[in-house]
């Protein structure tokens, strides 16, 4: 059974999904962030793979993507990082990014890498559901990979029904129309559940109050921008600024990685506590 389905079978209330951009703040933070979030009590993780032109994102996620690319992040590195924690991490993971990066990587290649790296689902905001259904659905389903679709507030009811039928795992309902990182007000229509599929609210959820608001109306919520802002408080790479003695390098790199892991774990813990409090 797909771990996203297992999660919702076990838990129907206050499900918390956290988004982060892989390769930000540093190239090798991916594993630290995933294990930090998992220990801190997140239910789901959305791993953003960066694109040069993220049109659906606001300034905070844009900047993190830009930085991640400067740090050298790409899909080969990311899948390698994910494979490395496959044995020790059991939290359901969703890959999120723009279609061109998946298209260039090769759809088949992308799917098989997801399957072997412990990825449970995929969100591609600019892949039209009609194209997905016609050209790619069979490939994703054959690999047991859930593709999750978004519904916007102004999506008409007929189309919303189509998206709700097509989505697997849960439905990603936008709290408002806009790019990521904007403010929200509550909306009774969020609560609408259909086909018995779970609903998570995304965009504009950033603190305890907005998370509570979303959880009153749906099965839980997704936080991206708020978490990236929190990560931005992390210090820049300190050791890279120091001259490292060649012979000590390996040991120091390992120590540094452990320090970094502890630091990120603290940040994740603090953030999740603040949201759940």
């Amino acid at each position: 059974m797909n771990r996203i389905d297992e999660l919702f079978k076990r838990k129907r209330e206050s499900v918390l999904s956290i988004y982060f951009t892989a390769g930000y703040p540093e190239l090798n933070d991916t594993v630290h962030i995933i294990s930090g979030l998992e220990k801190a009590g997140a239910d789901l993780i959305e791993i953003g793979f960066p694109f040069s032109d993220p049109v659906a994102d606001g300034p905070v996620i844009q900047a993190s993507s830009h930085r991640a690319l400067e740090n050298g992040m790409n899909l080969d590195i990311l899948f390698e990082q994910l494979s490395g924690i496959k044995a020790t991490s059991s939290i359901p993971k969703i890959m999120m990014g723009y279609f061109n990066t998946v298209y260039q990587y090769g759809i088949d290649h992308f799917i098989s890498k997801c399957a072997t790296s412990g990825v449970d689902g995929v969100i591609i905001p600019d892949l039209p559901p009609e194209v997905y259904e016609r050209e790619y659905r069979q490939l994703f389903e054959a690999a047991g990979l859930h593709v999750i679709f978004l519904v916007a507030p102004q999506t008409n009811p007929e189309r919303a029904e189509y998206l709700e039928t097509l989505t697997k795992g849960f439905l990603y309902r936008l709290s408002m129309s806009g790019t990521t990182g904007n403010a929200i007000a509550g909306d009774e229509t969020w609560g609408k559940r259909s086909n018995g599929k779970p609903v998570l609210i995304g965009f504009g959820i950033h603190d305890h109050a907005t998370f509570e608001l979303a959880c009153r109306h749906a099965n839980g919520a997704i936080i991206g921008t708020g978490f990236i802002r929190h990560l931005a408080t992390l210090e820049e790479d300190r050791l890279s600024k120091k001259k490292i003695d060649g012979r000590k390098k390996d040991r120091e790199t390992k120590e540094r990685s452990e320090d970094r892991g502890r630091e990120i774990a603290e940040i994740c813990k603090g953030f999740i506590q603040k949201i759940r409090s």
Binding site: F51, S52, D53, P54, V55, A56, G58, P59, Q62, H66, L69, N74, L75, D76, Y98, F99, N100, T101, V102, Y103, Q104, Y105, P125, D126, L127, P128, E130, V131, F149, L150, V151, A152, Q154, T155, N156, R159, L163, L174, S177, G178, T179, N182
Partner: protein
């Protein structure tokens, strides 16, 4: 023009290129446009108003000028389609007039646009002033610095010019930001895209608005030479709107050879180039599938050309299709070749072309032409905006 094999299908595809790769938030806006654009632009009321403004406001039809001295030099018959004589100095206004009328009919109160060199921004600000509509133009912060006169024009026309600080701060980033604005203003805002790019139906819509160019060429040639089509049409291609308009009515006539000039920048074997059709791979940017300059991981590579109107990493899906079927040929032209061609036209015919249009003129020296053939070169814009670049070039040449 009625449905042809060069019109997109109902999902907006030209062969494998085109479509509408947009996030869900934009689906209602794009659906509204897709369901209404043909109904509106084919209505008698729209056609009447569009042609009235093209004639009395823009100054159409633009002349088709037989360039005698240039023709002698290249031993053929060269006709220049003078889009540079349009109000605001380029073909861009054909499209903005059409789209602002469409926006009005859809009841939109606020207009947004992206711009690179500022020509499309000025053409959009102009029609918004004409119609009393709010206008916001997104322009890369670097371009705001480089194209100060056009920024002043847009501000005089009442537009808000938003400098875009993301990415490399040029046209691609301005387009991203305009799309984000549209996502954030789903109800009252209309996005006037400036070229045959973007999600369906924009490539088709803009091509139709610009098709007035080839329509007029056809009528004018009939008067001048007694037949309604040339042997060649030559045009420059960035996104590809003046080429789409100049080719449009000749696409189904195999007797007409169609050649596009892409910006090679410093050369297609250098990283400083914008020759998408020569170098690009199929990819998805700004809502459609087309050729795209990108790295192996699909990250878009910032293009370069001396001409700010041609340094776009993508190209309209129609052109990718026309290239793939062999209907059109696209040839890269370097900065230097374009500058030389601009100088040549200026001295032989007394016409200073825009740097973009100079790329089309540079095709003349790339092959031998037949003495009896007739060719049309689309002179898409005038050179006023490029005087800084020209003056740097000539001060360099004179040393």
């Amino acid at each position: 023009m009625s449905k042809s094999k060069y019109s997109p299908d109902s999902d907006g595809y030209y062969g494998e290129f085109g479509g509408a790769f947009i996030p869900e938030m934009l689906v209602p806006n794009i659906t509204e446009l897709r369901e209404n654009y043909l109904k509106i632009i084919e209505s008698d009321e729209f056609i009447k108003e569009f042609h009235h403004l093209l004639r009395d406001y823009t100054g159409r039809p633009t002349p088709l000028y037989f360039a005698k001295r240039l023709s002698e030099k290249y031993q053929t018959n060269i006709h220049l389609k003078r889009e540079d004589l349009n109000h605001t100095g380029a073909h861009k206004i054909n499209n903005t007039i059409g789209q602002v009328l469409l926006a009005e009919k859809l009841g939109k109160k606020r207009i947004i646009a992206e711009t690179g060199a500022g020509q499309h921004g000025v053409a959009t600000a102009t029609v918004c002033a004409l119609k009393g509509l709010e206008c916001v133009v997104y322009m890369g912060a670097l371009d705001v610095q480089r194209q100060a006169p056009n920024v002043t024009k847009m501000k005089m026309l009442g537009a808000t010019v938003v400098p875009v600080e993301s990415g490399n701060k040029t046209l691609k980033d301005a387009t991203n930001e305009a799309m984000r604005d549209w996502i954030n203003h789903p109800d009252d805002t209309y996005y006037i895209i400036g070229s045959v790019v973007g999600p369906h139906p924009y490539p088709d819509l803009v091509a139709r608005m610009q098709s007035v160019i080839s329509y007029e060429i056809s009528l004018q040639l009939n008067t001048h030479i007694g037949r309604s089509f040339p042997d060649y049409v030559l045009a420059c291609v960035g996104g590809g709107s003046n080429a789409a308009g100049g080719f449009y009515h000749f696409l189904e006539n195999p007797a007409v050879k169609l050649i596009g000039a892409e910006a090679a920048g410093k050369g297609i074997d250098t990283p400083e180039t914008a020759a998408t059709l020569a170098l690009g791979k199929t990819g998805i940017l700004h809502g459609s599938k087309s050729k795209l300059i990108q790295d192996k991981y699909g990250q878009v590579i910032e293009p370069y050309s001396i001409s700010a109107g041609l340094d776009y990493p993508g190209v309209g899906p129609l052109h990718s299709y026309l290239q793939s079927t062999g209907r059109c040929t696209y040839i890269p032209v370097t900065d230097q070749e374009a500058l030389d061609a601009a100088m040549e036209l200026t001295q032989l015919e007394g016409i200073i072309p825009a740097l973009e249009s100079a790329h089309a003129l540079a095709l003349l020296s790339k092959q031998k032409w037949n003495r009896s053939h007739h060719m049309v070169i689309i002179l898409s814009g005038r050179g006023d905006k490029d005087m800084d670049t020209y003056s740097k070039y000539f001060s360099h040449e004179s040393h």
